[in-house]
């Protein structure tokens, strides 16, 4: 029996020295996780629109084919937008990765079990939808393979990283949507984005 992975360490490994990586995070714990790893204008943490993180990633990946795009979201958020895995599978964006940090809980609302607690296998869903690679990850060593895929290998990639169900101190990103959008566009597209 191995020790369960811890979400903040998982996200830290994936985002450490992220260079030009564009990151979209689902609302709740994964938004706090990416912020704990270091807030960046090239992060777009959601505070709402549950179920839409992967689709924002797809729109961004199609718009910026030369950049790597990573969606980090929770199991509850992914379950709400399961159809988006099929939509991404059809488009085959080679620069997009979707990582589900799976604690098998709705973490912000009282730690109620999600479908994954009953064995729903999101990696198999992603594989069936046409993702080039889709895996469940439980071992620390596999995170480095995942990191390499996110930062370089042709995708789309999917990973369901099983983590401990734990309540952690909140590390909050800015929450004003207009600010999050404007800072992202300026960092990615330059100041002329303000005039577009």
């Amino acid at each position: 029996m191995t020790t369960a992975l811890r979400r903040r360490q998982v996200v830290e490994i994936l985002l450490n020295e992220r260079k030009g990586l564009l990151v979209v995070a689902g609302l709740g714990s994964t938004a706090w996780d990416i912020t704990a790893a270091g807030d960046s204008p090239l992060s777009f943490p959601l505070w709402g629109a549950m179920g839409n993180a992967a689709m924002i990633g797809l729109g961004l990946a199609l718009a910026q084919p030369a950049r790597r795009v990573l969606v980090i979201t929770g199991d509850g958020e992914m379950l709400m937008g399961l159809g988006s895995l099929a939509t991404i599978g059809v488009q085959q964006p080679g620069n997009l990765s979707v990582v589900v940090v799976d604690n098998e809980r709705y973490g912000e609302t009282g730690m109620q079990p999600t479908h994954t607690a009953s064995g729903v296998d999101l990696a198999k869903v992603a594989l069936a939808c046409g993702f080039g690679s889709a895996r469940q990850i439980r071992e620390p060593g596999e995170l480095w393979t995942l990191r390499a895929a996110i930062h370089g290998a042709p995708g789309p990639h999917f990973a369901q990283v099983k983590v401990a169900a734990e309540k952690l101190p909140l590390v909050l990103p800015p929450r004003e949507g207009g600010l999050l959008k404007a800072r992202f566009r300026r960092a990615l597209l330059g100041e002329e984005a303000d005039l577009a």
């Binding site: 564009l22 979209v24 777009f44 959601l46 505070w47 709402g48 629109a49 549950m50 179920g51 839409n52 993180a53 992967a54 689709m55 924002i56 990633g57 797809l58 729109g59 961004l60 990946a61 199609l62 718009a63 910026q64 950049r67 937008g81 159809g83 988006s84 099929a86 939509t87 059809v90 488009q91 004003e176 949507g177 207009g178 999050l180 959008k181 992202f184 566009r185 990615l188 597209l189 984005a193 577009a196």
Partner: protein, 178 residues
């Protein structure tokens, strides 16, 4: 002598291209059939078939984050699927251009289409989406052009409602034959 005009979907396609739209998300509708075909045939455009309409709200948001203009095609029944996601569009001030073919509005044969069709303008308005109605084929393309200016120039969410009278489907048989 007046030159014969091209069909309205062809004019809307040209309008979208002229407005710089490069991503089009859609859930098919009989009324959007021709426009979807034109988008799919265009290699400079990413035409993205969606599994549900709310995906298109996220798609367009991601496109704008990446510096690309998107448009979203659906029928009025799909508007209800978008409501919560439209909260993000408003909070972030994402431009959004929605082209919505109406059902449940004018000569509808399916009673199940009527509630959402009748509620469509009110639901969109309630979520802060500016609603433009196009009631004849001739006014659709100019309305889309104005809506695109308002969306991308004025950073607004704008929906063009294409009247059921323009689409003119009167029966299941007629819809199936299209």
């Amino acid at each position: 002598m007046r030159r014969k005009e091209s069909p309205w979907p062809d004019r809307v396609y040209k309008t979208l291209k002229a407005a710089g739209v490069r991503q089009v998300g859609y859930v098919p509708d009989a009324g959007h059939k021709r426009l979807i075909e034109l988008c799919l045939a265009d290699r400079e455009l990413d035409a993205v078939v969606l599994s549900t309409e709310e995906e298109g709200i996220g798609l367009a948001a991601g496109a704008w984050l990446g510096g690309v203009r998107g448009a979203l095609l659906m029928q009025s029944s799909g508007v209800g699927n978008c409501i919560n996601a439209l909260g993000m569009t408003r909070e972030c001030r994402f431009p959004l251009l929605m082209l919505i073919t109406m059902r449940g509005q004018f000569g509808e044969f399916n009673p199940w289409q009527v509630p959402m069709g009748q509620a469509t303008p009110g639901v969109l308005s309630a979520m802060g989406v500016v609603v433009h109605e196009a009631n004849t084929a001739r006014e659709i393309a100019p309305t889309v052009e104005a809506a695109a200016r308002l969306a991308f120039g004025g950073y607004q969410a704008v929906a063009v409602l294409i009247a059921q009278g323009v689409i003119g489907i009167k029966s299941f048989q007629e819809q199936a034959s299209r």
